[in-house]
């Protein structure tokens, strides 16, 4: 079980009083969220609840109207996205955001090189960077992508692309990893590797994942946060959430209705 | 009256012309993000239609104006079906190159058919001459131009705000995906808007002949000005296009009158700085 609840110095990632609105549309209302080191938390909620927006706010793609984002105790609200990545915050995208013409190996090597700040050297040959290439290869092999490492990203199977998403995020050696619907669209026969990949994530990394796939949530999350209409409805263990009547009405019940009406 | 009012008046007339030429591009760029650098080729087409009808077929000036509009609109519909449709999701570069290619072809075709000289046009007598008022001359044709442009502006704004078509256009410009989700046929809407915008440009091209002249280089020379108006005014904004066109028209005329040595430097400098400060245009969305 995760160590959260024991001695808490500071959370790995926290949002405090975060507000965001687009005109009259409120996408985040006084959101408070805390992710302890090594956590495995899930963020669920109906479509349009503001989950991806919250990720964008925490990673720096959006600026909050009010509130703070804290990474390892430091206030990063004013920092640019790439600066937060360098401090250990990584994310994946719900819709694959890869480098289509780069091979898997090139993509991850690039991420490693950027992390190690050697990507500006234009006078040295790429294959001279042994450590970076080796590290990239190890990440790919751990995610079962070793055999396809020389294929361009756009030629990979969809499930492999989702894994490459995670590989790219892991290449920056994050302390906090935000996974935006990692299983979205992955067919059943390719989801085994994905589940294994998520299970294999190091306990040093705090993981928050948005998911609709309840199997994933029950399997990996020690805590579930429910978000509706830009606000956090409640938090609890997966079992507590699954049996909560409010959640059923708002989310799980709605999902069933959606399935019925197609 | 001090000459500055004369400069303002001329600048206003020029700005109105630029507005007519630009408004169509602003809306289509805002809706589909399709970089149509051939927009002024359609304007040029309208101009040459007017010239042909008047000089070779003896039509009266006013009768040629609707034909210029229709010709440009029809040409757009043809090209849109044949080509443009396939490139709505292409890269900026591909759209640029495709439409630049069309500009080159149109300029060469115009030079071949009509030669490279300025086209003469005989305005009807009541449009010639000027009104003397408070010590300044106000050209009647420019008053006419301002009146037409204002009328069209009113019609455009009324259409946008008060008709269902207009509401759909505004929705599609604002958020294409959501508009589709609401059941709006964005593709058909775009085809119509594109044609209307080009038609207006064609009309502008016909009206431009007496003000700034017409020769094959029109398609490129005025493209620059139109792009400035659209970039500064904001994509998809009629009000923005009007404001930017006024600004550009008055600045250009004033610059040439007061500091002719600097020429167009002021225009390009102001444009570049404005785009840097507000990349989405004065009235554009981020």
């Amino acid at each position: 079980m995760a160590r959260e609840g024991s001695i808490v110095s500071e959370s790995a990632l926290a949002a405090r009083g975060v507000d965001k609105r687009f005109g009259s549309l409120v996408v985040a209302a006084n959101v408070d969220l805390s992710l302890p080191p090594g956590a495995r938390h899930a963020l669920i909620g109906p479509n349009g609840a503001g989950k991806t927006t919250l990720i964008n706010l925490m990673t720096g793609m959006l600026r909050p109207d009010a509130g703070q984002i804290l990474l390892g105790g430091d206030d990063v609200t004013a920092l640019a996205a790439e600066e937060r990545v360098r401090r250990g915050l990584a994310r994946t995208y719900q819709i694959n955001s890869l480098f289509p013409h780069l091979t898997a190996l090139e993509s991850v090597t690039l991420a490693v090189c950027e992390r190690r700040r050697v990507a500006q050297t234009w006078w040295r040959r790429l294959f001279a960077y042994r450590e970076e290439i080796e590290e990239a290869q190890q990440i790919l092999v751990a995610l079962m992508l070793g055999a396809v490492c020389h294929r361009p990203a756009r030629e990979l199977a969809y499930g492999q692309q989702r894994l490459l998403e995670i590989a790219l995020a892991l290449a920056s050696r994050p302390k906090v990893l935000l996974l935006d619907e990692p299983a979205a669209g992955v067919p059943r026969d390719e989801s085994k590797e994905l589940f294994a990949a998520i299970a294999g994530l190091s306990r040093d990394i705090a993981v928050l994942f948005i998911e609709h796939d309840m199997e994933l949530v029950f399997r990996f999350a020690s805590k579930v946060i429910v978000m509706v209409g830009g606000s956090i409805l409640l938090e609890g263990t997966p079992a507590e959430i699954a049996s909560d009547p409010q959640v059923r009405a708002v989310y799980l019940g709605k999902t069933q209705r959606e399935y019925r009406h197609g | 009256m001090p000459p500055v009012f004369g400069v303002l008046f001329d600048g206003l007339a020029y700005g109105m012309l630029l507005f007519l030429l630009s408004v169509g591009l602003s809306v289509t760029l805002g809706m589909m993000n399709f970089v149509n650098l051939a927009h002024c080729s359609f304007a040029m087409l309208g101009g040459y239609v007017t010239v042909t009808l008047m000089n070779r077929l003896g039509w009266p000036f006013f009768a040629t104006l609707p034909v210029a509009f229709v010709a440009a609109a029809a040409a757009t519909v043809l090209l849109e079906r044949a080509f443009f449709r396939r490139f709505y999701n292409a890269t900026d570069l591909e759209q640029c190159l495709l439409t630049i290619g069309i500009v080159f072809v149109s300029i060469a075709a115009a030079a071949y058919i009509y030669g490279t000289d300025q086209q003469p046009v005989q305005l009807p007598p009541f449009l010639r001459g000027s009104i003397h008022f408070a010590g300044l001359n106000f050209a009647i044709y420019r008053l006419f131009l301002i009146a037409i442009a204002l009328t069209i502006t009113v019609v455009l704004v009324a259409t946008l705000e008060m008709t269902r078509f207009g509401a759909q256009v505004r929705a599609a410009v604002n958020n294409q995906r959501m508009a589709r989700g609401l059941g709006i046929d964005v593709d058909a809407l775009f085809a119509v808007t594109f044609a209307l915008g080009s038609g207006l440009a064609g009309l502008g091209g016909a009206l431009a002949i007496d003000l700034v002249g017409l020769d094959p280089s029109f398609a490129f020379t005025y493209l620059i000005y139109v792009l400035i108006v659209v970039s500064v005014g904001g994509l998809g904004s009629i009000g923005g296009s009007l404001a930017a066109a006024m600004l550009l028209g008055i600045s250009d005329i004033a610059g040439k009158y007061y500091v002719p040595a600097i020429g167009s430097i002021l225009i390009y400098l102001v444009m570049t700085v404005l785009i840097m400060l507000r990349p989405a245009g004065i009235f554009g969305r981020r």
């Binding site: 890869l98 290869q137 995020a169 | 072809v105 030079a111 400035i228 785009i275 840097m276």
Partner: protein, 329 residues
């Protein structure tokens, strides 16, 4: 699955960088004009200059995805700088070349702060605006640039004290070709470096680059400055070998021509630009009797054809053909 030792991916990347037979053949072929067509050496030097200019555009457009409609600004800066240095008394070509390239590079560096912040239409407009601004300014500052008549009084000293520039063109072509080759080697090295990979990343997905912590603005500024230096070098060589500089070196036509050459040959391959330059310049020479407007008619059709049929240019089409041939055998 074969054992995934470290040697294999490194060897793979290394193999990608090895010199192909086609490349060696190409560079050997560039020596042919000396022997086979000595009457056309001046044209050959023009082609080499154009190829160098296209190379610089490929670096920012083909590899970093920056669409520029005003790249001639840097070409022209290099040309005028080299011309002015010579006019003011120092006609030594190599130092003049380096100085001009640095001047263009400085201008590129300053403008890169603006360029890096924008994309899509605003970027296109800003590059256009910078080019037009420079052209108009050069026109106005006729006390410096000679205005419409151009710079007079350029005299280039012999290279290394020995090779004079004359109407036969041996020195001109040798000089231009040598510069092209040396700079090409540098560009080739850059492409296969981590920085080259980063550029392709920016072109493919700028947003994801930020998400892996890449300082994209810094990368763009770097490549833009390098490309400006190379464009400036090309302009300087033009000024030095033809001993004239006129306003057209800064003009939109030149920016458009270099864009056409690059698209024709194919972006993002280095050799595509070179091929495009050769085809375009030779064709233009062949059809030079034609009214310039009709020339642009065919260029217009060509652009449309390339976009519709051959989006990756001639080189892309060729590689597609060879790939298909291999797949069928």
């Amino acid at each position: 699955m074969a054992s995934t030792t470290i040697a294999e991916p490194r060897a793979y990347l290394q193999a990608q960088m090895r010199w192909r037979w086609g490349e060696i053949a190409f560079w050997l072929a560039t020596l042919l004009p000396f022997i086979v067509t000595p009457d056309y050496l001046l044209l050959a030097s023009q082609v080499a200059i154009a190829a160098l200019f296209v190379l610089s555009l490929d670096l920012i457009l083909g590899f970093a995805g920056i669409v520029s409609l005003g790249h001639a600004a840097y070409f022209g800066t290099g040309a005028y700088t080299a011309g002015l240095i010579s006019k003011w008394g120092w006609g030594e070509p190599l130092t003049g070349l380096v100085t001009a390239a640095l001047a263009a590079g400085l201008f590129g560096y300053v403008t890169s702060f603006i360029i890096a912040r924008f994309r899509h239409l605003p970027l296109i407009m800003i590059t256009l605006g910078i080019g037009l601004l420079l052209q108009e300014s050069a026109n106005s500052a006729s006390w410096l640039t000679g205005g419409f008549d151009g710079l007079q009084g350029i005299h280039t000293w012999p290279i290394l004290g020995r090779f004079r520039f004359d109407l036969y063109g041996y020195s001109a072509y040798g000089y231009a070709l040598a510069a092209l080759f040396v700079i090409f080697l540098g560009a080739r090295r850059l492409i296969h470096s981590p920085f080259g990979l980063a550029l392709r990343g920016i072109r493919d997905n700028g947003q994801r680059m930020r998400a892996i912590g890449a300082p994209t603005h810094s990368h763009i500024r770097t490549i833009y400055t390098i490309a400006a230096m190379i464009a400036g070098a090309a302009g300087a060589i033009l000024a030095q070998t033809t001993e004239t500089v006129s306003l057209e070196v800064l003009g939109f036509q030149r920016s458009a021509d270099v864009l056409v050459m690059l698209i024709l040959g194919g972006t993002g391959r280095l050799y595509g630009g070179l091929l495009g330059a050769v085809v375009y310049m030779v064709a233009r020479d062949q059809f030079s009797g034609l009214n310039p407007q009709y020339w642009y008619f065919w260029i217009g059709l060509l652009l449309i054809a390339v976009v519709v049929v051959l989006p990756n240019g001639l080189l892309g089409g060729l590689s597609l053909l060879t790939w298909r041939a291999k797949a069928q055998s």
